[in-house]
Symmetry: C2
Subunit: 84 residues, 2 copies
């Protein structure tokens, strides 16, 4: 019974980590001084458009940013944009 | 002791899943017919440059592709490029 309890607990932790570990990223706007200002968290989709970069988070919230992509570092969950 | 053994086993599974679940993506080149041809697997970094898109996989292997980004879908682990 004890083992089963621990198994269930580990499974819950495991499931939570799966959710936390979704592969979304945070989008930042790089400032002239080199600092990065957070634009949008938990970004799922990045779609370049004529008038900027369209960011969509995992909840479907969208933000169009007049910028260009500097770099995307997926393992670090970072999208860096810069004003054009 | 049994509980400790199960705990250790779960921890190993958990650690493996962490590794498998790294947030790299696969890069595809969209064909005119609409099909996607695999360009590079396990891409970590995407860096737009003047002469194309520089892709770098998690092992540091790089590929410069004369293309533009159509869409990046991070939760689906997909980067779609298209010839300019």
């Amino acid at each position: 019974m004890l083992a089963r309890g621990i198994f269930a607990k580990m499974l819950r932790v495991f499931t939570q980590v799966e959710v936390i570990n979704m592969c979304e990223a945070n989008a930042y706007l790089r400032q002239k001084g080199g600092e990065d200002e957070l634009l949008l968290e938990m970004v799922d989709r990045v779609i370049p458009q004529e008038d900027g970069i369209l960011l969509e988070d995992i909840f479907g919230k969208r933000k169009l940013v007049k910028a260009r992509i500097v770099e995307m570092a997926l393992v670090d969950h970072k999208i860096i944009l810069e004003k054009e």
